[in-house]
């Protein structure tokens, strides 16, 4: 039984770490926050299993606190981070390509996230978020979306009502 618990914990930990990859890749801020949400559920399961595996009932309290507070970070994100620039919404790579030579640190990242993602062909079309001020941002957005086939339809549809 013990080894089953520990195997499950290791397994859940690995799914958690794999999910953290989404923070890195984005592309929108909301995607990054999802990983924080993933943490609430998976870490609670890990804590409950650890409590059983190491017979430490006090860990139930830790899991209780985590479950109780799991929504706060995401709430803070949706309530506070409103006027974020489009760079933070996943357009950072494109602006880098347009404005200046890309430094080595973000070059690696931008190259990776601009790559078409295999099975998920639709991935390239997302993240066409508009900033709080629609008109100056929209030329930026449409410039970006030209990479995908439906880009123009997208930016036309989502034009006016942002923010």
């Amino acid at each position: 039984m013990q080894s089953l618990y520990y195997s499950l914990i290791l397994f859940l930990l690995l799914t958690l770490v794999a999910g953290l990859w989404r923070i890195r890749r984005g592309p929108t801020a909301a995607d990054r926050m999802l990983a924080a949400q993933l943490f609430g559920t998976t870490a609670t399961a890990i804590l409950l299993l650890l409590a059983e595996a190491s017979t430490a009932p006090a860990l139930h309290d830790v899991a209780l606190v985590l479950a109780l507070l799991a929504a706060i970070t995401v709430t803070a994100f949706t309530r506070r981070v409103r006027g974020l620039r489009s760079a933070d919404l996943g357009l950072v790579d494109a602006t880098a390509g347009k404005d200046a030579p890309v430094g080595e640190a973000d070059g690696e990242d931008s190259a990776r996230s601009r790559k078409p993602l295999g099975a998920c062909a639709g991935e390239r079309r997302e993240g066409l978020a508009r900033d709080a001020s629609p008109d100056p941002a929209s030329d930026l957005a449409s410039g970006l979306s030209s990479g995908s086939a439906n880009g123009s339809a997208n930016s036309a549809a989502g034009g006016g009502h942002a923010g």
Binding site: L20, D61, L69, G83, R85, D99, V102, D109
Partner: protein, 355 residues
Amino acid sequence: MAWLNLLPLAIDLVLALTLLWLAWRALSSPDLFRAVVLFIALGLVLGLVWVRLDAVDIALAEIALGAGVTGALLLAALAKLQPGATDSAEPASAAEFAAALEGDPDTPRPALAERAATGTAPIALGSTLDERPVGAAAGTAPIALRWLIALLLIPPCIGLGLVVWRLWVPAPGLTDLVAARLDESGVTYPVTAVLLNFRGYDTLLELAVLLLALIGVWSLSPAPHLDDAEPEPALAALSRLLAPLMILVAAYLVWIGAQAPGGAFQAGSVLGAAGVLLRLSGWRLSPRATGWPLRLALVLGVAVFAFIGLAVIGLGQPLLGYPAGWAKPAILAIELAATLSIGTILAALFIGGRP
């Protein structure tokens, strides 16, 4: 059972590597928002690490703070630092904007600067935040300097690693000493005994430091203007459901701290998180309560602690030396007051600025 010994080690290795990976990415990511989210994840992984280190108290505090306060604090600060964020304390003026752009000689953007001057610039691009993605040189030191610093840092850190390695003789530390005198402490849980009895002066000063940090924040600026929209119905319902439960759990943690992991700092963290949630869902303290009642709640922990610590001198005891038989009620009184103060201070730190 080789399995049984290897599996926990594998878990710990995964945790340690995740910790290092997250720290590295959080500190080197070109995007500030991503850095903050990675840092929040780092805090939660640390919570699991504390559990693996048998430090359940620390895990409670880390998870309560990491999930409830730190993340909200950093995200709110990030939003306020945005040049044109709608809920920033002061809108960035066009002149300030242009000055910020001029400060970057390596990014000539005449069109943008022009738009900035007319006040219609897309806040999307250049900014006083360093996240103009124009190469590593902008946000960090030159690459040669970075490598030099890295090389210079490696020897002291190898030294530190060696010290840790050499210290690794099995030693009980102060465990036995604490266990021997646990009966006199008034509680049956060693960490609480250390916090509130054996090293009470330390905890008293920590509470004072918390208060000092809040005084620092209050002295910098008045409270930010509240222009929160009405909360979404789901959020309003959630805060109505969770905030009372958080207060209940905080009380539970204080009570259980006498014999199991829990206590004032963990409970205060949960209470602070309740304050953060209430604030995020648009709740605000009535103006009548922001005067002396708020200040009383803030200083109550230090005041009760110091009062009891000094009062025992009158009974012929040393400073903070509780007389026999009185340790348990004294600790409980101090813990309740400290929980209230820590929670209020944390919530006030999140709100920022004096009311």
